[in-house]
């Protein structure tokens, strides 16, 4: 690509003798008004095209390989439990099971560790077919109330979960109301694995977004219980499950961080997960999964970036080769004015 040096002065001066050679600022202004500013005018010559393709290809392939390797190193255990945790007698009517609070919701799952997993191991719950991104749902919150508590009265956005028994609800809205309330505890053999449930929410949210002096009030007091209860003695800024939940997911199938196991797991360990299957996804056919995953700088186990980079990189190299071949076989003289259409039209006719 070409830096076009100021080469207009001579020709212009010949045409308009009245314009004196200008200096500095006024010259720049003159060039500006005459649309003659020094400019870079890129031309896609074959050299440039092939170089670009090669360059992109050679950058992309290593990135792709590295990313793929990183994401492959991430280990993941996924266990869907929503169906199995329903007692066999209720299999045909899961709704009755989940709605009846007298039935114990305990459930045990056994997970086999295939490979060594280094701490920290992240515990996620995954919900499928759960439209946390539904417009009605996303809007159903009051960020001001989360920050200022009862001092902030206007909670109309939270309807129909803005008030119960004539009193406002803190935190209000459908999102808070439907807080996930399955719990998990992990045992290796008989030892309970320590699960760290602190610092699972974003630090910025904890420090600035959720009030340090805002306590849950009148929460889940209605006739329809949507999900978890909150301890009214703990301020919202410390209710990390709520904070995580309130960062509504982008897609209808999503994971939320539950906690961290800060011990290494070894291959062939059998983990027992004792869980309380409280949360009602049965009414709308949602699925629940428990996910244990290590982590990397690229995030979770996802090969997409790696594969995409490798394939795009290779495609670029391929195109570069094709263009090279085309150019060698069939070179077009660049900037040859005899190729202008009216000239060859004149010759042909």
């Amino acid at each position: 690509m070409e830096i076009d040096e100021v080469s207009t002065s001579s020709a212009n001066a010949a045409e308009i003798p009245s314009v004196p050679v200008r200096r500095g600022r006024s010259k720049a202004i003159y060039q500006f008004t005459q649309q003659n500013l020094p400019a870079c005018k890129p031309v896609l010559t074959p050299t440039w095209v092939i170089t670009i393709f090669f360059a992109v290809g050679t950058i992309f392939i290593p990135i792709g390989l590295f990313s793929l390797q990183v994401s492959q190193s991430v280990l993941e255990i996924v266990d869907r439990y929503d169906a199995e945790c329903v007692p066999p007698s209720f299999r045909s009517n899961k709704l009755a099971y989940i709605k009846d609070s007298s039935i114990p919701k305990n459930c045990s799952r056994y997970l086999k560790v295939n490979k060594d997993m280094k701490a920290p191991i992240y515990i996620y719950y995954q919900l499928d077919n759960y439209y946390q991104n539904h417009r009605r749902y996303v809007k159903s919150r009051s960020d001001k109330q989360l920050l200022y508590g009862l001092k902030y009265n206007d909670t109309s956005t939270c309807s129909p979960e803005d008030a119960t028994n004539g009193l406002p609800i803190v935190p209000c809205g459908l999102i808070a109301w439907s807080l996930f309330n399955d719990t998990y505890s992990f045992f290796r053999g008989t030892d309970a694995l320590k699960v760290n449930r602190k610092n699972i929410a974003w630090e910025s949210d904890r420090n600035h977004k959720f009030g340090k002096h805002v306590y849950p009030f009148n929460f889940q007091n209605g006739s329809l219980i949507g999900g978890a209860h909150l301890d009214p003695t703990i301020p919202l800024s410390d209710q990390e499950d709520l904070i995580v939940w309130m960062r509504t997911a982008a897609l209808p199938s999503f994971r939320k961080l539950y906690g961290r196991i800060e011990e290494d797991l070894h291959a062939n360990d059998i983990l027992e997960v004792k869980l309380l299957n409280n949360y009602n996804t049965y009414s709308f056919g949602g699925r629940k999964k428990l996910v244990l995953s290590t982590s990397s700088w690229l995030g979770g186990h996802n090969n997409f970036i790696g594969i995409a980079y490798i394939s795009i990189g290779s495609f670029f190299i391929f195109i570069a080769l094709v263009f090279m071949l085309l150019h060698v076989k069939n070179p077009r003289p660049y900037g040859d004015t005899t190729n202008l259409s009216w000239t060859w039209k004149g010759i042909s006719s």
Binding site: E2, D4, S7, E15, S18, T33, Q34, Q35, L37, P38, A39, C40, P42, V43, L44, P46, V49, Y130, Q132, N133, H134, R135, D143, L147, P160, T164, N165, W177, W202, D205, K209, G222, S223, G226, A250, L251, S253, K256, S283, F284, W297, L298, G300, N302, F304, I305, A308, I312, I319, F323, H327, R332, P333, Y334, G335, D336, T337, N339, L340, W342
Partner: protein, 1006 residues
């Protein structure tokens, strides 16, 4: 207004009709002698005027005046039209016959139509397509919503993310914002329209206005279009048709003041068979003549308004004593020039008001010549330059200042110029009682009445003849000057007849003609003059360039046919090898016949049958040998032969006059004219009225898709300027009306070349790209939102924050488009002027057409899919929240569309860099600000995201994958199907590069 009387006892009024037909010379109008006398006597009288219905024809008027039972005919020469200016006449009294809307001037003015650029019309068509897309998308969302609701009908009450009813005691069972499935579907349709409405680029209209404003700024500032004579810059008076300048197919030009400067200049003379003025060049002669002028100046009291530099040789001759044939001939020659005319000298004593030569004018009075024809003015001025200054003119005598001596000549009679005789003569009595007839006229009419027997004259005649041929081949207008002594008997006889003829009521003109014939014979040839109707600077070159660019130049003028043709020749519009078709019929049938003849002769196909013939020809060419089909083939061959013959005729030129146009434009001959005119290289229309000019423009506008441009300088061009797609006004001497009505105004005709070829081309390229890019920019954003909505149970959730959605087209991406729309240049002006044919890119609609629109839309579809799915796959099964995703999409789409623009920018100046990269930085800045406000749900998102490499990697992936097809297509197109512009651009840049790196003979191609 019918003239009744004027301040002049003979009832003459001089008027200027510049506002009506663009001619700036004086015309004479007469009051009827009968009424004039009555008014002058102060008698009160009554009468009846019967006149025709108001009409548009400004060259005709028929009426009768009835006073005391006597009927007088009134004609064109008895009326003064609205818009005329009275000159050299103190007062005039008349009766108004047409008033208000019925005046000819008003009937000739057309309503100024609102102009809209062609590209904008196309753009609106594409906007309709976008509306269709929008509707489809909204319908998909609405129907999806309906189906989804239907499927989940039983769950909606308690569905955690929908919950349509209250469970609070007071309102128990009440529905919350739920109005049944059909209504919900409808609401979702409405809300999706709100979300997707940005698809219809309202902002594009604003952007376009801003871009045009910027373009206009540069056009106005262009030094090459600055007229240093009149100190007038280019003016953009209309802001919405800049891009039309790049697609002009027809240029309709006025002649006077537009092509020509409307200044006649006496250039050459042939006196007594001797040629003067061949070496006369304006600059050179001035130095050599200083001595002669000094001699002159002592005697000359009157300073002329126009400056003519006399020929030295001729001056020398004139300063000899009055003896010898040649000297006397020269004397009479200039006397004729000074006397034989109808020019009125107006001495002005205010030299400071004159701008010609104040140093000399300070001490002398200035004579301003005003006359009916600019030719005569030029001749009188010339005579004055040689010392024969016309000083005073009354109806009885004239005073000529001959080298300081005042010569009073009695004018016995005057035969005015008429189109049959093509000459004019004046009979004057010298102070020494000799009587002479001084005649000047067109060469064809003069040579036949010259004295035949004299052998000496033969020599002069031949010499003059050859000089005349020489002059006319140079495009000069020639006149032959001759004189004759009258004997006493002849004079008496003539005087009798003249008296009789000039007072006769019937057939006056015929009688006068007969009288003239009596004395206009056996003339002695004195010489010939050549006058240049001075063309504006650079006109022939400009016309040549325009023609090369594929633009047809038509000249519409109010002038006579001969004048029009001579101007056509001198500005290279007509060339010698052209076949001239002249149409001047006086009735419909005559016009029809002439048109048909011309068509038949030159085998002009009519539009509807041209396809057929083309097909036949194809058949004959391909199947010539195989299918001898008897009669049919023979006819085909005839057709074919005719076709070839037509081609061998060379370029055609059509010359048509106003009278024929009256019949043609009003009758059904329009299509015939159109067929004929469009197949001609050049069309000259003479003697056209203002509205006919508009009619011709309209003819082309209605019958073809081609863009038209009208250029003119006078009030008579206003309707044409308003009618054409683009109207250009010349800021000339003829007032401001044309400029006021125009879309663009400039100082000189030659700027038209630069306006069209350079600025028109640039503007067209820029706006074309701008529109496509804006369509793409908004559509890709909307489609990205649309894909997401399919993943949110059709609930029109936007992952982007509200602010980002608003800022997207206003702040994040608007500035680069405007800058590129104003500043981008594909080719330098030098290249564009060097290859005028590059202009054809606009004719072929290369920058904006349907297929480009659809290609852009396909590209847009791909890019939106990449935009949506790359983050989707990257963050599949992860804990990403909706605002992080939205943030990623926002920045990705902003960078993507800006990179897309960057890829297409042809010329990077620092402003482009600043706006483009600045926009991306501003976007980041805005996101940082928006994510720093705790009460927004998206608080802290960008800080969290920026820490993750996956975020950056997915942005890079989106850009590269998104732009890949476009880039590959671009490269492929450049390698295999390079456009003319592409090649010219490469040539320009590579040439520069080669010069920059030193001379390298070989092509840099690998």
């Amino acid at each position: 207004m019918v003239l009744l009387s004027t301040s002049d006892p003979s009832g003459i009024a001089y008027i200027q009709t510049m506002n009506l037909d663009g001619e700036s010379n004086l015309k004479t109008r007469y009051a009827r002698q009968e009424t004039n006398k009555l008014v002058l006597d102060g008698t009160i009288f009554s009468g009846v005027i019967t006149c025709e219905q108001p009409n548009r024809n400004i060259y005709e008027f028929t009426a009768n005046l009835e006073i005391k039972g006597q009927r007088f005919p009134l004609s064109q020469s008895n009326i003064i039209l609205r818009g005329c200016q009275l000159k050299n006449t103190e007062s005039a009294i008349g009766i108004v016959v047409y008033a208000g809307q019925e005046t000819k001037a008003m009937l000739n003015s057309a309503m100024s139509p609102a102009k809209r650029s062609r590209l904008e019309t196309y753009m609106n068509r594409e906007t309709l397509w976008l509306s269709v897309f929008l509707l489809i998308m909204c319908l998909v969302v609405a129907i999806g919503m309906g189906l989804w609701l239907n499927r989940h009908k039983s769950q909606l009450d308690t569905l955690p993310y929908y919950r349509k009813i209250y469970f609070e005691k007071k309102k128990f069972g009440k529905k919350y914002k739920y109005y049944g499935i059909p209504m919900e579907t409808f609401f979702s349709f409405l809300s999706s329209i709100i979300v997707f409405q940005i698809m219809i680029p309202i902002s594009l209209y604003i952007t376009m206005e801003l871009v045009r404003l910027g373009q206009s700024y540069f056009m106005i500032g262009d030094r090459h279009m600055y007229d240093s004579n009149s100190k007038s810059r280019f003016q953009c008076r209309s802001l919405n048709i800049n891009e039309d300048l790049g697609q002009i197919r027809y240029v309709f030009s006025d002649k006077t003041g537009t092509l020509t400067e409307n200044k006649m200049e006496f250039r050459k003379a042939s006196v007594w068979g001797k040629h003067y003025g061949s070496t006369l060049s304006v600059d050179g002669s001035r130095d050599t003549n200083i001595g002669a002028e000094d001699v002159l100046e002592g005697r000359r009291k009157w300073k002329l308004k126009s400056e003519i530099t006399p020929d030295f040789e001729l001056l020398k001759l004139l300063h000899k004593d009055l003896s010898g044939e040649e000297r006397i001939a020269a004397h009479e020659f200039f006397l004729t020039l000074a006397a034989c005319n109808t020019v009125v000298p107006i001495p002005t004593q205010s030299p400071s008001s004159s701008d010609t030569d104040t140093t000399l004018g300070a001490s002398y009075g200035i004579i301003n010549y005003q006359g009916e024809s600019p030719d005569e003015q030029a001749l009188v001025s010339a005579a004055s330059a040689y010392g024969y200054t016309l000083f005073e003119r009354t109806s009885g005598h004239i005073v000529v200042d001959v080298n300081g001596e005042k010569l009073r000549l009695d004018v016995l009679g005057l035969h005015e110029f008429d189109s049959v005789r093509k000459r004019m003569s004046v009979v004057i009595r010298f102070p020494n009682d000799t009587v002479k007839v001084l005649v000047k006229g067109a060469d064809t009419s003069m040579f036949s009445i010259l004295k035949k027997d004299h052998p000496d004259d033969d020599h002069t005649k031949h010499a003059t003849q050859s000089h005349l041929n020489e002059y006319s081949s140079e495009g000069l207008r020639t006149l032959v000057v001759a004189s004759r002594d009258l004997t006493g008997e002849e004079l008496v006889e003539w005087q009798c007849m003249y008296e009789d003829a000039s007072t006769s009521l019937t057939d006056r003109s015929i009688k006068l003609r007969q009288t003239a014939a009596l004395i206009e014979c056996d003339l002695t040839l004195l010489g010939a003059t050549a006058i240049e109707d001075k063309l504006q600077e650079g006109v022939p070159e400009a016309i040549e360039s325009l023609r090369q660019a594929g633009i047809k130049v038509w000249v519409l003028t109010g002038d006579k046919q001969e004048t029009a043709i001579s101007i056509g020749l001198s500005c290279k519009l007509l060339t010698a090898d052209m076949e001239q078709i002249i149409i001047n019929g006086n009735s419909e049938s005559e016009c029809r016949k002439l048109l048909c003849d011309a068509k038949a002769k030159f085998c002009v196909k009519s539009a509807n049958s041209s396809d057929q013939i083309a097909k036949w020809i194809k058949n004959t060419e391909s199947d010539y040998l195989e299918i001898p089909l008897g009669t049919k083939l023979s006819s085909l061959q005839q057709q074919h032969a005719g076709q070839e013959e037509g081609a061998s005729f060379g370029p055609l030129a059509l010359i048509i006059d106003g009278n024929s146009l009256v019949y043609i434009l009003e009758k059904d001959l329009e299509s015939e004219l159109f067929d004929l005119a469009t197949s001609c290289r050049v069309v000259l229309c003479c003697r056209v009225a203002p509205l006919q000019k508009a009619g011709i423009v309209d003819l082309i506008k209605c019958r073809s898709d081609d863009m038209t441009l009208a250029i003119g300088d006078g009030a008579n061009d206003v309707s044409m300027i308003q009618m054409a797609d683009v109207g250009v006004g010349i800021c000339g001497q003829e007032g401001r009306q044309a400029v006021m009505a125009s879309d663009f105004a400039m100082g000189q005709f030659r700027f038209l070349k630069r306006l069209l070829l350079v600025h028109g081309h640039w503007n067209y390229q820029r706006i074309g790209y701008l529109v496509l890019y804006n369509f793409y920019r908004n559509a890709v954003f909307v489609l990205m939102l649309f894909w997401y909505i399919l993943f949110t149970a059709f609930s029109t959730t936007s992952a982007l924050t509200d602010w980002s959605s608003v800022f997207y087209s206003v702040l994040y991406t608007s500035l680069p488009t405007i800058v590129v729309g104003i500043m981008d240049k594909d080719l330098s002006h030098k290249t564009l002027l060097k290859y005028p044919k590059l202009y054809a890119a606009g004719h072929r609609q290369e920058s904006y057409n349907m297929s480009l629109f659809w290609i852009t839309m396909l590209d847009m579809l791909w890019q939106s899919l990449v935009l949506f799915y790359v983050p989707l796959f990257t963050y599949r099964n992860s804990s990403i929240d909706i605002w992080s995703m939205g943030s990623l999409w926002t920045i990705a789409v902003v960078i993507l569309v800006n990179m897309h623009l960057a890829m297409d920018i042809q010329r990077w100046v620092f402003i482009t860099h600043m706006s483009l990269w600045g926009s991306i930085i501003v976007t980041y800045g805005c996101m940082v600000v928006l994510d720093s406000i705790p009460v927004f749900p998206n608080y802290g998102t960008i800080f969290h995201l920026a820490k993750s490499p996956a975020y950056w990697l997915s942005i890079l992936l989106i850009i590269v994958v998104g732009l890949l097809p476009r880039f590959v297509l671009k490269v492929l197109q450049q390698i295999f199907w390079p456009s003319d512009i592409q090649i010219a651009r490469e040539a320009e840049i590579l040439r520069k590069r080669r010069r920059f790196f030193g001379p390298k003979p070989d092509q840099i191609s690998s």
